[in-house]
């Protein structure tokens, strides 16, 4: 009776049990591909806040929230941002559409996420409290007294680099991780797929012929 292993997590499990060396080899190859993107993204993070926004830099002082939200606006700390740019080798849980990501790249720092995404919806910056028109809803507007605050901030973020789109959807636009992945031009994905394919073929060979390839 033929035994069929379906799916990459299952393949990984099978490799772990029956060919741990192949599993290690596959993981190493994938790790190299992901690290390339991660390092490129980390290199895009400037040492100081872009656009000379020196008040955004993390000086270590305690920060209080100035809005109704409990969490304060995060400070820019390049070390923390770089540390937050990482990858994950494990598959995620299946989402509602039935898809599970096999490998993921992360930009998990809050300030890093702001620098990544700022200006995606409002390229000229959000409307601020000070610049609000009469009758305009106060929902989703900035709380700055400077009406140009949003424009200045987005302009400063563009100093990191332009928003680059890594897939065909508008949501896939960013300056740091997304831009690094876009610059990678699918090489990482290709390497991952090749590593999986190689490992599956080798496992198949070993199971069928009982020898190391």
């Amino acid at each position: 009776m033929p035994v069929v292993v379906e799916g990459v997590p299952e393949l990984k499990r099978a490799l772990k049990k029956f060919a741990p060396d192949l599993r290690a080899q596959m993981d190493a190859e994938i790790r190299i591909a992901l690290k390339e993107v991660r390092d490129a993204a980390r290199n895009k993070v400037p040492g100081v806040p872009p656009g000379n926004l020196y008040n955004w830099a993390d000086t270590g002082a305690e920060v209080n929230s100035r809005t109704s939200k409990a969490r304060e606006f995060p400070k820019f700390d390049s070390t923390m941002i770089r540390r937050g740019i990482t990858y994950k080798m494990g598959a995620t849980k299946r989402n509602r559409q039935g898809f599970s990501a096999l490998y993921s790249l992360f930009n998990s720092d809050a300030a890093g996420a702001i620098a990544e995404w700022a200006g995606r919806v409002n390229p000229g910056g959000r409307v601020q409290k000070a610049g609000r028109n009469y009758g305009q809803s106060s929902k989703n507007i900035g709380q700055s007294n400077n009406p140009n605050a949003g424009r200045i901030f987005v302009g400063a973020m563009n100093g990191i680099g332009p928003l680059k789109q890594y897939d065909k959807f508008n949501r896939g636009r960013g300056r740091i991780l997304y831009a690094a992945y876009a610059d990678n031009s699918g090489k990482a994905l290709d390497s991952v797929m090749k590593a999986i394919d190689k490992a599956s073929k080798l496992l198949n060979y070993r199971v069928n012929y009982g020898k190391a390839a």
């Binding site: 997590p9 099978a14 960013g174």
Partner: protein, 590 residues
């Protein structure tokens, strides 16, 4: 919320549990498969190892025998023990199996005829093989070919020499280059993990061969002094052998009934009987009897054997060196003759290529242009002369000039041919066309005036306004005929009916040249009478006709350029708009 990029997502349907079940099932199956395999492999592997060992021994022995035979054929049989020891040492030192070293050495030895030279080259072959990734046998084969002048196969080692350089290089140069490029590669390889594994593999292979030899010997003893066809077959037919042995014992017993052998057998049995191990007598009887030594032996000359070997070796080496010198001289000679041949071929190729230009089509073109394209004709004739003279250098120069001249002539011919079409086109840029024709005439050294060329096409060229019109009548008279580029009857005026004065005549006329003025006046009077006659003829023709009059309208000169036309249309539209005149169909009353 962290920003995330998902790589290589996988669609997982509701069958996750099924997949899990399948994995568990796979685990169980593989486990049971593993257990089964362990049980089976323990016996199977031993049998396979035995088979492989016997096969390895056979191949090794066959290769060794082949090499020994080659040595014998080359008159180097006395080197056999030295070569065997060398191969064994080299195998351990290089990490390359003797199965590969022997054929490699054999090919080098056959080519060079010298054991020393073959050893040198085999060392080089090992380095090249380690450096290039090729098999040592292949490299040795390539070196052997190169030794006799065939260096083509060395191209794959990326020596940095072109194919032509490889062909002309002698073997010493090639050897030096390869040694420089690949020196120490094998030693470096042995330092690597892979190299160490290769050395281990050799130990394993040697062990396998030794085991194989033991197995073959064992079965040889079992089969008696007739030997065995193949150890593997015997191993496969081991059961049959046991059955046959049983039958053999029965036959042996039966043999006792034969009185002729009875006495001998009994005597031998009791001679071997050991009182403490009576069965050993049967074992002793089964031992292979040594064959009598048939080669005649002589003690004479044994004292100077080494001297003889040394002499033979020196002779073989000197023969090989002589052969190498001959090969080198031959290679040089070949290179020289090849170079001469290449040069000749190249020259023939050039001449052939140029000679192709004189095909029928080109001759026809030349004939069509004859009388006008003097320069082309001159070049063509000169080139033909150069080909007949086999003057390659001059032929090449003339060919280049001819190509240029032909291109110019073709362009001029095309321009003149297209004049008829152009004259009806109001957008033609006549000044540039006329200038180009003049340039081409000058370039080709054609002395025919441009007006004449236009007149032959039924056109009148006015150089002062750079315009071209159709001639109302084509008058070919003495004034319009030129021979060898010279205008005939230069003293006469060029006044034709309905034609304006030519620029030259007009110049003389305005300069009050009395001769020209008189001529023009005379011509005018003559033309007047002719014109009157024509008028009468025209009127009579009109009267005879049915009243239908065909009117041909000629557009004189370039009326406007494309850009000017567009601008004019736009201005007209603006003007209409200013006047309130509609420009669209809907606004015009129909």
């Amino acid at each position: 919320m962290a920003i995330r990029i998902d790589i290589a997502s996988e669609f997982k349907d509701k069958g996750f549990k099924q997949a899990d079940k399948a994995t568990t099932s796979l685990q169980r199956n593989l486990k049971s498969l593993g257990k089964t395999l362990v049980g089976v492999l323990s016996v199977r592997e031993v049998v396979q190892f035995g088979k492989a060992s016997v096969r390895a021994f056979e191949e090794d022995e066959r290769a060794a025998t082949r090499l020994t035979q080659t040595l014998g054929n080359l008159g180097l049989a006395f080197e056999d023990s030295r070569v065997t020891a060398y191969i064994a040492d080299l195998e351990r030192a290089s990490g390359v199996l003797d199965d590969k070293l022997r054929p490699a050495f054999q090919s080098l030895l056959t080519t060079t005829g010298s054991v020393t030279k073959a050893q040198d080259l085999l060392g080089l072959a090992l380095d090249v093989a380690a450096g290039s990734g090729q098999d040592v046998t292949t490299v040795a084969g390539d070196l052997s070919k190169a030794y006799v002048g065939n260096t083509r196969s060395l191209a794959k080692y990326n020596t940095g020499l072109s194919r032509a350089e490889l062909q002309t290089a002698n073997f010493a140069e090639v050897q030096a280059l390869l040694a420089k490029q690949f020196s120490g590669q094998n030693a470096a390889y042995l330092d690597t993990y892979s190299g160490k594994v290769a050395v281990l593999n050799i130990a394993y292979a040697n062990m396998q061969e030794t085991v194989g030899q033991g197995l073959v010997d064992a079965f040889t003893i079992l089969q008696g002094d007739k030997g065995i066809g193949g150890g593997v077959k015997v191993m496969d037919g081991f059961g049959d052998s046991i059955a046959n042995t049983t039958r053999g014992i029965a036959n042996l017993i039966a043999a006792f009934s034969d009185l002729r052998t009875y006495g001998t057998t009994v005597f031998e049995f009791f001679r071997n009987v050991d009182p403490f191990a009576p069965w050993s007598a049967i074992t002793q009887m089964g031992k292979v009897k040594p064959k009598p030594f048939q080669t005649p032996m002589s003690v004479s000359g044994s004292t100077d054997a080494q001297v003889k070997i040394d002499r033979a070796r020196a002779k073989a080496e000197s023969d090989a060196a002589k052969r190498a010198k001959e090969l080198l001289a031959l290679t040089k000679k070949q290179v020289k003759s090849q170079e001469a041949l290449n040069k000749k071929k190249k020259e023939e190729g050039i001449l052939g290529q140029i000679a192709q230009r004189f095909d029928l089509e080109r001759v026809q073109i030349a004939a069509a242009l004859r009388g006008q394209i003097d320069d082309v004709e001159r070049l063509r004739l000169e080139l033909m002369q150069a080909i007949l003279d086999e003057d390659v250098k001059r032929a090449i120069i003339l060919e280049g000039q001819l190509i240029k001249a032909e291109a110019a002539a073709k362009e001029l011919a095309d321009l003149l041919d297209s004049l008829d079409e152009m004259v009806g086109d109001p957008f033609v840029d006549w000044p540039s066309k006329i200038t180009r024709i003049q340039e081409l005439l000058k370039q080709l050294n054609i002395k025919i005036p441009i007006e004449t060329l236009f007149a032959e096409k039924g056109l009148r060229l006015d150089q002062s306004t750079m315009s071209v019109t159709k001639l109302e009548r084509m008058d070919v008279d003495a004034n319009n005929v030129y021979i060898n580029g010279q205008l005939m009857n230069q003293n006469q005026t060029m006044v034709n009916t309905g034609q304006a004065l030519s620029a030259e005549v007009w110049k003389e006329f305005t300069a009050d040249n009395p001769l020209v003025v008189a001529a023009v006046e005379n011509a005018a009077e003559a033309n007047l009478a002719l014109a009157d006659a024509e008028l009468l003829l025209a009127e009579s023709l009109l009267a005879e006709s049915d009243g239908t009059i065909e009117i041909n309208v000629n557009v004189d000169g370039s009326i406007i350029s494309e850009g000017d036309l567009a601008e004019t249309i736009i201005n007209e539209i603006y003007r209409n708009q200013r006047n309130g005149t509609g420009i669209f169909l809907s606004s015009v009353a129909i």
